[in-house]
């Protein structure tokens, strides 16, 4: 049995180096085919009619005009008369037609009557919420007494608005029945295997008869795990019509119904002793992400204090429901906690970096990592030279620094990989995972190539099909650990199997053979080394096949990362416009397989962080309950001019590499909002407590703080 370990630093050729993503060229040239790009012979387009009301009961549906609309082939009622609709834009009827335009005409011809019911969509003021769930408090120690006796005390109320996932490729799929029992689905999904199971159940065929394919995916961020109603509707329409169905959400639906991150509103009191030790935390908050309300963010975040309590109230709203948003609940918890600690440092007359270092032991197992990362980040942004006490600057445009810590698990998910070695020298990994654009395909290729000692163009990755060996959903930063663990084990097993296959043909024992640097070596030096090509030619017509799984033997993966981010921003005191000068992200994630795509993950996360910090929010109309900005005009995503200079430093080497591979997708998106808000607060000299930090809100903070 091979030894299941990662190669030592000296033996890594590709692992840890900067490899450009393998599918970059096909994406940049438009040749990569996404679910949205899939077109099938005889395909119909489906469009879904949405509820114009945020809360209503369906009293009548008349589809006769829709059915008579030229080009319309089928009309499918999704939610029938009597159903109570809980959010605007919810799907009621689907229309399939020979063109997108005809389907839209048909959808416009559907007549639906509603009994309109009262709606509630704006939860910022808790007192106005009609159905708030009672608060559940979690308490350690005696926070009230500890705060009362603290040497320094801070208090504040912090708000983060509801945001959407707004994936660039909207949700949806093309569905096609091969026969009565076999369904093929080209889906924009984070979970090909899970979608196959869900759709099989929904349409009444074995999951093994549902073939899901996702080669390229245009963003999911946690919102694309499910087969979804539109997956089932598309499958049913395809069955009824006997034709392939393309059903992709339009931008309005994508932003309004296909995923939200809950809002968070939290009142905090915190206290520190005379040495800057944080001794007390007392908070209560509320939030909403749709009819199910919102889960409780982990507050206080990262730190655990001797005396702490947090009570959370879940507020249902008539808005499109929440889905897991990249590091669910963590960005909100980080924002609230780090803002409050910045405020406490100010009240204690301390540099927040000193306050964080003073209390670093309270972060638990990762405390030494945080300490290292804080020093690294501080050096990269020039904290010690450039930090100034809050509000010390004068002038119209004032700059400031802010920092935040985050944490995440990221243990590799269950994954299976088959590695095949062919006699022409090709080595192939087959794995039922999906590449969301994060570099998964590239990571698998690197692990496979490095294990065989081959170049990247000598290996092949076959993935993105549910018929391949099952791999978990891509979410929660679990993919890189899962696929690299499974691929490494399968590749090590395959190397061993190859040597056992060819050893007799070379008149030696497998134990006398060693595959390294593209060559087959004889350990006893009885023969000169031969090329991999020559060695592979001895494999025979049947390729060698070996399986590998994660989890499995050997320490290839781990869980638990830290991460520190610092922001340098400017605040225009007259307009409230916040500008990013520089962001520094220092991140650990164990052994890094591809430094370049790892850094890209962090850059992308910082941009996403700038967006939720400064510009994006779901705006709901109090009158109609509809989302007013379900578009990309007023649902504002940051552009390249908004993001400033970004510096990414990945922690590697001793202390990090030997932990094995740990996920990276979530961690770097957690802290940007908190770090930017702290920097804005430091710059403006007044607490800036609300995301997104629009000119409107920043001006209000400046006015409230007496700095106008």
């Amino acid at each position: 049995m091979p030894e299941y370990i990662w190669p030592q630093a000296a033996d890594r050729r590709l692992i840890g180096s900067r490899v450009s993503r393998l599918d970059g060229p096909v994406k940049a040239t438009g040749r990569a085919r996404y679910a949205y790009d899939t077109n099938r012979r005889g395909m119909l387009w489906a469009i879904m009619v949405q509820s114009p009301h945020a809360h209503a009961r369906i009293t009548a549906i008349d589809t006769s005009e829709a059915e008579a609309t030229p080009g319309v082939v089928a009309v499918h009622i999704i939610q029938d008369v009597g159903t109570e609709i809980q959010w605007a834009h919810d799907e009621i009827v689907a229309v399939a037609a020979t063109s997108e335009e005809a389907a839209r005409d048909g959808a416009a011809a559907v007549k639906i009557d509603y009994e309109v019911l009262p709606h509630f969509v704006t939860e910022r003021n808790l007192q106005a919420a009609p159905d708030a769930q009672p608060a559940q408090a979690e308490t350690t120690g005696d926070p009230a007494t500890a705060i009362a006796s603290a040497a320094a005390r801070s208090s504040g109320t912090y708000h983060a608005a509801q945001i959407a996932h707004c994936s660039l490729e909207s949700h949806g799929q093309v569905t096609e029945w091969q026969d009565d029992e076999t369904l093929t689905v080209w889906a924009s999904t984070q979970a090909i295997s899970g979608v196959a199971s869900q759709l099989g159940e929904a349409v009444g065929i074995p999951a093994s008869n549902v073939h899901v394919e996702t080669q390229y995916m245009g963003g999911g961020f946690g919102s694309k795990f499910s087969a979804d109603r539109w997956g089932v509707v598309g499958s049913e329409l395809a069955r009824v019509t006997g034709r392939p169905i393309k059903l992709m959400l339009d931008r309005n639906q994508e932003v309004s119904v296909a995923g939200a991150r809950p809002s968070t509103h939290v009142e905090v009191e915190a206290g520190a002793d005379g040495d800057g030790n944080v001794v007390a935390w007392n908070s209560r908050g509320w939030g909403s992400g749709g009819p199910a309300g919102a889960g409780s963010p982990p507050i206080p975040y990262v730190f655990e204090f001797e005396n702490q309590t947090h009570a959370h109230t879940s507020v249902p709203t008539n808005t499109g429901p929440a889905r897991a948003w990249r590091a669910p609940n963590h960005p909100q918890a980080c924002f609230v906690t780090m803002r409050a600690l910045e405020d406490l440092a100010h009240e204690a007359g301390m540099d927040p970096l000193d306050l964080f270092l003073k209390n670093i032991e309270k972060t638990g197992a990762r405390s030494s990592t945080y300490a290292e990362e804080l020093e690294k980040a501080a050096a990269l942004i020039g904290w010690r030279d450039r930090w100034h006490p809050r509000g010390e600057q004068t002038g119209t445009v004032r700059s400031g620094l802010g920092l935040a810590l985050h944490t995440w698990g990221g243990r590799g998910h269950r994954s299976n990989c088959e590695v095949l070695a062919y006699r022409d020298g090709l080595v192939e990994a087959r794995i039922g995972s999906q590449d969301l654009g994060t570099g998964t395909r590239t990571v698998i290729a690197i692990v496979l190539a490095d294990t065989f000692g081959l170049a990247l163009d000598e290996v092949k990755v076959t993935m993105g099909r549910s018929v391949l060996p099952v791999s978990g959903a891509s979410g929660g930063s679990t993919t890189v650990g899962g696929v690299s663990g499974a691929t490494r084990r399968a590749a090590l097993n395959a190397v061993e199997a190859v040597l056992e296959r060819i050893a007799p043909r070379l008149g030696t024992e497998a134990t006398n053979l060693l595959l390294k640097d593209g060559q087959l070596h004889f350990v006893d030096a009885s023969h000169p080394a031969m090329s991999w090509k020559q060695a592979a030619s001895l494999i025979g017509v049947n390729p060698v096949s070996a399986m590998g799984a994660n989890p499995g033997p050997g320490q290839l993966t781990d869980s638990g990362v830290g991460g520190v981010q610092m922001a340098d921003v400017s605040v225009d005191m007259e307009t409230g416009v916040v500008s990013i000068n520089k962001l520094v992200a220092v991140q650990d994630c164990g052994l890094i397989i591809d430094m370049k795509t790892a850094e890209s993950q962090v850059y992308g996360a910082l941009i996403m962080g700038v967006t939720y910090a400064l510009t994006e929010e779901r705006v709901f109309d109090p009158l109609t309950g509809r989302m007013l900005n379900a578009d990309m005009e007023f649902y504002k995503l940051a552009g390249i001019a908004d993001v400033g200079e970004m510096v990414v430093h990945m922690m590697t080497g001793p202390g990090y590499d030997e932990r094995g591979v740990i996920g990276l997708g979530e961690p770097p998106v957690i802290a940007p909002g908190a770090a930017i808000a702290n920097a804005a607060t430091n710059a403006a000299g007044v607490p800036i407590n609300e995301m997104p930090m629009t000119p409107e809100r920043v001006l209000a903070a400046i006015e409230a703080g007496g700095m106008a």
């Binding site: 307009t575 416009v577 510009t615 705006v619 940051a638 000119p695 001006l699 106008a708």
Partner: protein, 316 residues
């Protein structure tokens, strides 16, 4: 898809004839009208392409001043050295569009005649949307709505980038109709409708804007925009300032149903562009502003935009 006719006349007379029909609309760059149609905010039975009309584009110096054709692209303005040099207020407003794609497609006429971005209007509730007999926007979310000229039911803001600087510079608009051309002050192109049945433009049936003319150069002019995003984003408030022969004109954008001329701000700058007069002009500009429930911050943004435009016109 609603069927519509498409026609591409060669002359302004033909265009006017083809536009003199119920449900006809002019098409130039298409940056606004196509999204209006796709979003269902407007429906037209005929689109009349203006891009094929000779003489409707281009930028020319004439005795009357600099003449800018209606089908000149916003990007053309930025490539015209004389315009950029003499009328930075116009160039800065075009730059503020923030999108190379839009600069390459959007025409001057299309910008001047663009429909409002009000989210109630774009969602199909009409230009002056009403709910229980009251303005929807006044009762709803009006963070991007008007702080001037909002006493009636219309509280959308005019979305034109170019109208404020052009009006500040005293530009005229030449309009072609069934009776031939007529020329008006550009500010007279705009009106505040009382209901969704009325237009926000004074154009008569079938009329098109053929060109605008900026009279000989004012010595100092500038535009300042406040936006949330630095890239493509609608301004929250803008101000254009132009000073000529001791007289100053200040025109505000994105704060009223029409481009909003602030006579008081102009008077404050009449004595010259100084730190003090710029600040006074900002204060004067917003003296009669009236916030709706959710847009009070735009008053401060407008005050600052006026002050900064005045200082920029002075040269920093």
């Amino acid at each position: 898809m609603r069927r519509f006719e498409y026609t591409s006349p060669q002359t302004a007379d033909d265009a006017v004839r083809m536009l003199s029909s119920e449900g006809a609309a002019a098409l130039a760059g298409g940056t606004d009208i196509l999204s209006l149609m796709k979003d269902g905010a407007a429906a037209y039975s005929r689109l009349v392409n203006l891009k094929g009309i000779r003489g409707l584009g281009g930028i020319r110096n004439t005795d009357a001043g600099m003449e800018i054709g209606a089908t000149a692209k916003l990007g053309d303005l930025l490539e015209h050295h004389g315009l950029v040099t003499m009328f930075p207020a116009v160039a800065e407003a075009a730059m503020g569009v923030g999108s190379r794609q839009v600069l390459s497609m959007r025409t001057v006429g299309g910008d001047l005649c663009a429909r409002p971005r009000c989210w109630y209007f774009r969602a199909g509730f009409g230009l002056v949307p009403m709910h229980d007999g009251e303005s929807m926007a006044k009762q709803g979310d009006n963070r991007y709505h008007a702080i001037f000229g909002n006493s009636g039911a219309a509280v959308f803001v005019n979305p034109s980038s170019l109208a404020p600087p052009l009006i500040a510079l005293g530009a005229s608009a030449t309009i072609h109709g069934a009776d031939g051309p007529r020329t008006i002050a550009l500010e007279d192109l705009y009106r505040t409708p009382a209901s969704s049945d009325e237009s926000e433009f004074t154009l008569g049936f079938g009329e098109i804007v053929t060109h605008v003319t900026i009279p000989p150069p004012s010595s100092q002019n500038a535009t300042y925009e406040v936006r949330n995003r630095k890239g493509m984003d609608w301004p929250l408030a803008t101000a254009s300032v132009a000073v000529s022969d001791g007289a100053a004109r200040v025109v505000l954008g994105h704060v009223a149903p029409t481009p909003w001329m602030s006579a008081a701000a102009g008077e404050a700058l009449a004595g010259g562009l100084t730190d003090a007069s710029a600040a006074a002009a900002g204060d004067a500009a917003v003296a009669d502003a009236r916030a709706l429930s959710g847009n009070g911050y735009k008053i401060q943004l407008t005050r600052v935009a006026v002050k900064r435009a005045a200082l920029a016109a002075r040269g920093g």
